[in-house]
Amino acid sequence: MSTQTALIKRLEGLDQMPTIPVVLGPLLRYLEQPLEHLEVQQVVDLISQDKSLAAQCLHMANSPLFGRWQAVDNLRSAVVALGLQRMRDIAISCSVLTLLPKEKTNVDPVVFWEHSLGCALVCRQFARKINFPNPGKAYLAGLLHDIGIVAHLWIVPTEFAAALEMARSRHVPLHEVEAEHLGLTHCETGKIVGERWHLTPDLVAVLGCHHYVDRAANDRDLVALVSLSDLLCRMSGLGYGYIEERQVNFTEEPGFTLLVQECPSLQTFDWARFTFELEAYMEEVHRMVSLLYRSE
């Protein structure tokens, strides 16, 4: 049996991988309602059901990256100050942090979540700068884009660890080594996870195609936006904990060609300035993720 076939077979038993916290489903469904129907206390009550989630939300709510400059010390103040949309982003971010297996692997959870959270923030900021229609969706897509890696860590930890080690020693992108040695990448796995979690089709497209934007059958602009943001993070020291030794011209990336059709302002986008702005993000992301991990 080939590695790929064996892996797909094991993926069918994905039940061993935890799903997102129980409270998140009702919370997200509640926040999908029109704004005028929402009550702050209801949101506070829902988040408070999970004490760990509540504590982490509060930590994150105090970060300048979420627009907060005065400290808040209770959930109600955080929800009032930040708004429901941001609280939704924060709740989702904190929820996914619990998904990695506890067993020690060669994937440092802090590094992994720094990349995911960094990518989420970059996606949202990038979306705003180029007038992409839904920055909130971009954030979510950035946060979840590598969920296939989490699945690999649950299902094929040894094989994945070997692939990561090889990518690290060769300084090449992880998905290239996964394709070579596992027979499939965290994109294919992410797509399976996304479908099993009943994520929306646009998110499934991102999970499945962020390294192969041309393969996306739907929501190609969102896939392209995440693909470019992910690459920018990896080139700016917010990757998987190792340096990819390569040279990238963003205007020659397949994601750029796709996204520029939807967002013409990308044609004159100041990539240099956006890259320099990331410096501030990185510092804050490092601080935030390490604080969240300490508070677990």
């Binding site: 004490k51 504590a55 300048p64 400290a71 340096i243 990238v248 320099f276 510092e283």
Partner: protein
């Protein structure tokens, strides 16, 4: 679980950035092409504070006016840029840039150069100040002579407008501040201890040629041909747009087809030139030549 203690970041206690400081940051980027990210705003505020003290100005709003509408605005911008870039000169100043140069750019140049008859690397440190940058390059390439540059020769052309800086560079003696990033390995291998500090040894010096050159002197600059790599860090920020374009045009004409241009940390050519394309390297950026025909630099009228 008890309720969590309130969490504060250093920024949370400081409050949001002063909007006039953000205006100054954006103005500096627009005029000079050097960007101060949010995590460096406090440093920028400190630099502005020094200038405000010198001008007896009490608010950032008033200082912003000094930089924009008052008659002293041009001179003041230069003074602020001096504050921003102060103390940036030292050996191995920008390690990610040097790593990218060594691991990615150098192999690409070597590959492209291999098609040419002469195995010779030619690098130009434009605006080399007191020489730390060209000597760093010389040491780095010497380290590669047993590996990537085996069988190759190399030279670093180092130019600066300031005669005293060039004289200092040729002398090659440096104090603690300039040498703070040097590892014991480099200190021992490439420096001689003197009473005044560390002196670059003859081997390193042999590969570096210092000259006093004004980058706007078309006749002088036109002779710096056949270059593989130009480093021009924190120099263009002092030029107006037209002058920047002239200098960039010279770089374009003097670089070989595979040539690279490196600027200073957080420095950009956005809105200044279409002659080069931005490329991303690990934790660094650089510029490569865009495909276009060679043209004469625009002469100032």
């Amino acid at each position: 679980m008890s309720s969590p203690a309130p969490f504060r970041t250093s920024d949370a206690t400081a409050g949001p950035p002063n909007p006039h400081l953000v205006q100054i940051r954006d103005l500096v980027y627009r005029v000079a092409g050097i960007f101060q990210p949010d995590n460096k705003l406090r440093l920028l505020e400190d630099r502005c504070g020094r200038r405000m003290q010198a001008l007896a100005v009490t608010s950032l709003r008033e200082y912003y006016e000094c930089l924009t509408i008052k008659p002293i605005r041009q001179a003041e911008m230069v003074a602020l840029l001096n504050e921003i870039t102060i103390g940036e000169t030292c050996f191995f100043r920008n390690q990610p840039q040097l790593d990218a140069l060594r691991n990615i750019v150098l192999p690409r140049i070597i590959e492209a150069r291999a098609k040419l008859p002469l195995r010779h690397l030619r690098v130009w440190s434009a605006g080399c100040s007191t020489g730390e940058e060209p000597y760093t390059l010389s040491m780095m390439f010497l380290e590669e002579t047993a590996a990537k540059l085996k069988g190759w020769t190399f030279e670093v052309m180092a130019t600066d407008l300031n005669e005293r800086s060039v004289a200092h560079a040729k002398h090659g003696i440096y104090g603690d501040y300039s040498t703070r990033n040097l590892t014991p390995y480099y200190r021992q291998k490439y420096f001689i201890a003197r009473a005044e500090g560390l002196q670059v040894n003859a081997e390193v010096k042999a590969h570096v040629n210092f000259n006093r050159v004004n980058l706007l002197d078309d006749a002088r600059v036109a002779f710096m041909k056949g270059v593989d790599l130009v480093l021009c860090c924190n120099v263009l920020i002092y030029f107006d747009v037209m002058s920047k374009r002239r200098v960039i045009q010279h770089f374009y004409n003097n670089l070989l087809a595979h040539g690279y241009l490196f600027l200073g940390h957080s420095e950009s050519l956005y809105g200044v030139s279409e002659d080069f394309r931005l490329v991303h390297l690990p934790s660094a950026t650089a510029y490569v030549k865009a495909e276009k025909r060679q043209v004469a630099p625009q002469v100032k009228t």
